[in-house]
């Protein structure tokens, strides 16, 4: 056991069982999966991406590149989870990934022997020939060999949520700088959100043997957090990663609500927050960076800061004979902290020759680690001492300290390039890179605790002043203020063996040299050629080392070489969390008309129309083909009476003294001449001359109209009318509002429709009382409604409208009455057949590419007024008589099918692109005419009536000889609908 006898922010009284690769272990509350495994002497935690090298933990935080695991079972299995951040709940199941058959014996470790062939850009060079093998052979093999965890392949049942929050100040990170900033701002009355990715707040204070105001760092942090939690104007969000910085003071945040709980009991697992803040303070700390030396990736080799975290925060020592390799004074502190915790340190190796470390252990200055050995973990080190001699050290754990990089990632999210600061040999955030965000403490390169506290205080005071809040005079707590002493040392050169830079993507120093030799020298080229920094950790640990090596190779300074920038998210975010609420029906909500339940009782067959659901047909016998129902419903409307829900059509109420003038300008035909009590069919164009929509306009009184739109275009037409009213002609007195949801409306169509409605309404609805294209007020059971005499079927027909809440009752009544007369309900399929038989339009014809002339509607373009689209519709290309024009199509002889989308080709011509004469927009079987019919667009079609043409469907292998006919198949004179 490697659990120390004392110390750590863990509850030793409670033990929670969990498994890793089937083996049972236990953890204490406060442990991470990584600390619990280390406490039980598990060092091997993963296999690397490409070479399948055995790997252990390198860090103690979210920057971990190695210890990635699959957590959970079945659909809930989550790959690539960092063992260094995952808390252990009772019964947690963890599995290693990217290894077969097991973590200890991984067959693909053979890749490591093939490493000379698998370096940077290997697939560009090695798998060139034969060309066809790439897609079928090489790539599948490479894809299978490479990679990280596996997805479950099952639908994600995890409950995610999204939420919004607003504040004056967002403090990112709850280390000494963040706690100080939040506390000062809160005391000044600012509304503060303090977010930290960790589950215990305090940042490095929990990991270091340090003092603030004479208390331990751990207890100062705990007290500060408790104080903040008690303040009503502060929201403390633990387990919350600020994932991205966006425009307008918006930040993305992922709160892991229940990832650490065995039974969430209905709580969402994760919440994706959008936090909008006036000011932000970036107190995200810093990441320690490794030093590259041969075989620096063995389990047991980790960052010095991580080692201190395991010892101080978790009471675990990952080794019993520890060596420390450093280029800065932080390494000395590691030795002292470890010894204070009773852990044996057997060597301090400092790359700097001139220093005199103040530690009590064997010291090698001017020395470097040149190799490591050990099976599945480090057992020995080789040092090259200052005099050039080699020495073996039998260390079972090596702490590496290469200096610190500010965790400046968020500052790059809007394109800001970090700036180089020579005295700490690191990049710092560019001031102003994110508007209203300021970086403090270690995130801004000020690494001492004193500097963190002081920075945080100053930044918070400045926020209070900016926002005009109360000024406070806080006292700065006392803390250490050690100056930075670092001599940059990035990698051990001139020794044999591969030295790792990017542990997650398996990129070595040699790969950077290859990129340089092959002239991929710009940082952006180097990154993509070697894949350095392109793994899920975005190169948090590796970027700096690679830049330094490229600088060395090109003879430039690091700032001259430059740096790539970081993009959101800071750490990986589940797609499910980003898309919370947007899966399934959340992506496409359902709209139901008032009589939906009634219709759903009658038929399970619904068609989506936009977000609406409309009945397709009403089967009388489940065994029947849909066409049987459709034909029956069509015949019913043509011979007796049918009822169809048309509530989903857009209905827009237009009022105002200038309403008629306004409608004259948006429709092509004249509306102002329409008399109250009358209805007119009308056409609307886009400003570029193409048809936008059609519908009816009913004039209720002089200054009050109700217009209809097609179901699909209702939203677009409303926005268009609002644009015209507000942006073009603000001087007109006109008000526009959608009333689609206020009215339930039903078509009653067929020769018996008048009899049905006259009896229902007990009113005179004769042709004299309500002629074709007229409307009237009605009262039904005391409820006021409207009756329109309009027809989309070509039969005598009405549409009856009542307030939406009476829709269900009305439709039941209409159905019962229709049935008694030998009629009944009809659905969208029959509605479509009825309108094709009449040559009426839908958006299958008005598809955004047609002008009025194509539809044979030039006559509707009024010459007496201006209207939207008038000028553009007269462009030469749009009035060309050889444009594709709407015609009817009937097959000659016996045919299988005529299908929408078929191309029209002349008799004898090849069915090739250059011979295409047009296409079928709508087709159906017409029970009225006893055969297939279609509407089609054909070049110069109206001059070709009577000519023969072929309808060809290359996909479904149809080639049908047809005749071009007028587009009105049924009752072209319109006697029936006027009857």
């Amino acid at each position: 056991m490697s659990r120390l006898a004392n110390g750590g922010l863990i509850d030793r009284d409670i033990s929670r069982p969990f498994t890793f690769d089937g083996q049972a272990y236990t953890a204490h509350p406060g442990d991470t999966l990584a600390s619990a495994l280390l406490a039980q002497d598990v060092r091997l935690m993963g296999r690397s991406f490409k070479y399948h090298r055995p790997r252990g933990v390198l860090t103690a935080g979210s920057e971990e590149p190695n210890a990635l695991m699959e957590i959970g079972v079945g659909a809930a299995r989550t790959p690539n989870t960092r063992a260094t951040t995952q808390e252990v709940y009772a019964g947690l199941v963890a599995q290693s990934q990217n290894c077969f058959p097991s973590l200890k014996t991984d067959f693909l470790a053979v890749n490591d022997l093939l490493a000379p062939f698998l370096g940077a850009g290997f697939y560009y060079k090695t798998f060139m020939w034969p060309k066809a093998f790439w897609e079928k052979l090489y790539e599948p093999i490479i894809r299978r060999a490479a990679g990280l965890g596996r997805l479950s392949g099952e639908p994600d049942q995890t409950l995610y949520q999204k939420a919004h929050a607003h504040c004056d100040l967002l403090v990112i990170g709850a280390g000494p700088a963040g706690l100080m900033a939040a506390s000062v701002a809160a005391k000044g009355g600012a509304k503060v959100i303090l977010a930290d990715e960790d589950f215990i707040l305090g940042g490095r204070l929990n990991s270091e043997d340090c003092e603030i105001n004479g208390q331990s760092g751990q207890s100062w942090a705990a007290k500060a957090v408790a104080e903040l939690k008690d303040m009503p104007n502060v929201t403390v969000m633990a387990r919350t990663t600020i994932t991205g910085a966006y425009d307008g003071g918006t930040y993305g945040a992922l709160e892991r609500v229940a990832d650490h709980i065995a039974q969430p009991n209905g709580a969402p697992t994760q919440i994706f927050w959008r936090i909008v803040t006036k000011r932000a303070i970036l107190a995200s700390g810093a990441h320690e960076r490794p030093i590259a030396f041969p075989n620096n990736d063995r389990p047991g080799i980790m960052l010095a800061s991580a080692l201190r975290t395991y010892v101080t925060r978790f009471g675990v020592t990952p080794g019993h004979r520890i060596a420390v390799f450093t280029n800065n004074d932080d390494g000395w502190r590691t030795v002292r902290d470890l010894q204070a915790a009773g852990v044996s340190v057997i060597a301090l190796i400092d790359t700097r020759p001139e220093v005199t470390p103040d530690v009590d252990c064997p010291v090698y200055t001017g020395a470097k680690v040149v190799n490591t050995a050990g099976r599945r973990g480090v057992e020995r080190l080789s040092l090259r001492k200052a005099n050039g001699a080699l020495q073996q050290v039998n260390a079972d754990c090596l702490a590496v300290s290469g200096g610190w990089n500010p965790a400046l990632h968020l500052s790059s999210h809007m394109g800001g390039r970090p700036e180089w600061r020579a005295n700490i040999a690191a990049f710092v955030p560019k001031p102003g890179a994110i508007p209203n965000l300021v970086a403090v403490g270690a995130a801004n390169g000020a690494f001492s605790t004193h500097a963190a506290l002081s920075d945080g205080m100053i930044a918070a005071k400045s926020v209070l002043k900016d926002l005009g809040l109360k000024q406070v005079r806080p006292k700065l707590p006392l803390a250490e203020d050690a100056p930075i002493q670092i001599t940059p040392f990035w990698h051990v050169s001139g020794e044999k063996g591969r030295a790792w830079l990017d542990f997650q993507n398996d990129v070595t120093v040699k790969d950077i040299k290859t990129a340089h030799a092959e002239n991929f020298r710009s940082v952006e080229h180097m990154k993509r050629y070697t894949t350095l920094g392109m793994a899920t950790d975005q190169g948090k640990l590796s970027n700096m080392g690679a830049l330094a090596i490229m600088a060395e190779l090109t003879g430039q300074s690091i700032p001259k070489v430059g740096t790539t920038i970081f993009r959101p998210p800071y750490t990986p975010v589940h797609m499910g969390a980003l898309g919370a609420g947007g899966a399934g029906k959340g992506f496409q909500p359902e709209r139901f008309p008032p009589a939906h339940d009634f219709m759903a009782e009658k038929t399970p067959h619904m068609i989506e129309a936009g977000l609406w659901y409309r009945p397709a047909y009403y089967p009388q016998n489940p065994a029947h083909h849909w066409r049987d129902s459709c034909d029956r419903e069509v015949n019913m409307v043509r011979s007796s009476v049918g009822v169809c829900d048309v509530t989903t059509l857009g209905k827009i109420d237009v009022q105002g003294a200038d309403a008629a003038e306004f409608l004259d300008r948006v429709y092509t035909n004249m509306i102002s001449t329409l008399k109250p009590g009358r209805v007119r069919y009308a056409l609307m164009l886009r400003e570029d001359g193409f048809v936008l929509d059609d519908g009816t306009v009913a004039r209720l009184v002089a200054d009050h109209f109700v217009i209809t739109t097609t179901t699909g275009a209702a939203g677009a037409v409303l926005s268009h009318l609002e644009f015209c009213a507000q942006c073009l002609w603000a001087e007109l007195d006109v008000q526009i509002i959608s009333v689609t949801e206020q009215w339930a409306q039903y078509a009653v169509a067929g020769p018996q429709s008048r009899a049905l409605l006259a009896d229902l309404l007990d009113t005179d609805i004769s042709d004299a009382a309500i002629p074709y294209m007229g409307w009237m007020d009605i009262t039904l059971g005391g409820i006021k409604g409207r009756l329109f005499r309009i027809s989309f079927s070509g039969e005598l027909a009405y549409e009856i409208a009542l307030p939406a809440r009476f829709g269900d009752a009305l439709m039941r009544e209409l159905d019962a009455r229709a049935k008694a007369m030998g009629g009944g309900l009809y659905g969208l399929e029959a509605l479509n057949v009825l309108r094709i038989e009449k040559g009426f339009l839908t958006h299958a014809e008005m598809d955004g590419r047609v002008v009025a002339a194509d539809l044979g509607m030039s006559g509707m373009l009024s010459g007496k007024k201006d209207f939207i689209g008038k000028i553009a519709s007269q462009r030469a290309g749009l009035i060309d008589p050889m444009r594709e024009q709407l015609v009817g199509i009937r097959p000659i002889g016996v045919v299988r099918q005529l299908l929408g989308g078929s191309i029209m080709v002349d008799v004898g011509a090849d069915a090739t692109r250059e011979n295409v004469q047009g296409y079928i927009s709508s087709a159906c079987y017409s029970p009225t005419l006893g055969g297939m019919i279609a509407m089609a667009f054909v070049k110069g079609g109206r001059t070709r009536i009577g000519a023969q043409i072929r309808a060809v469907d290359l996909v479904r292998d149809l080639d049908t000889l047809c005749e071009i006919v007028p587009v009105q198949f049924h009752d072209p004179e319109g006697g029936k609908l006027r009857g």
């Binding site: 307008g248 918006t250 909008v276 644009f723 507000q726 942006c727 073009l728 603000a730 000028i871 553009a872």
Partner: protein, 88 residues
């Protein structure tokens, strides 16, 4: 991105729908060439750009928004009604 709607206050950009250049406010009276320019010809400035947005999930007002295309900073927001017919 945040847009301060004159009616509703500052709101997330997802409540709004973008149309395009505020040039659309100045519809020509006549002329094929004028309409060609009005419909098709657009500046593509790197910097402040006058645009039309509609607050579709709010008050449905059309807004004249001056937005910096480089920084996404929203500089001014006016009801389009107040600028109707004005060429920006």
């Amino acid at each position: 991105m945040r847009i301060p709607c004159p009616h509703c206050g500052e709101r997330d950009s997802r409540e709004f729908e973008y149309l395009g250049s505020a040039k659309l406010l100045a519809r020509p009276v006549t002329g094929a060439a004028e309409f060609h320019d009005y419909i098709h010809i657009r500046e593509n400035p790197a910097g402040p750009n006058a645009e039309l947005w509609q607050h579709i999930f709010g008050c449905r007002a059309w807004l004249h928004v001056v937005r910096d295309t480089v920084t996404h900073e929203v500089q001014t927001v006016t009801l389009a009604r107040e600028k109707a017919g004005v060429n920006p």
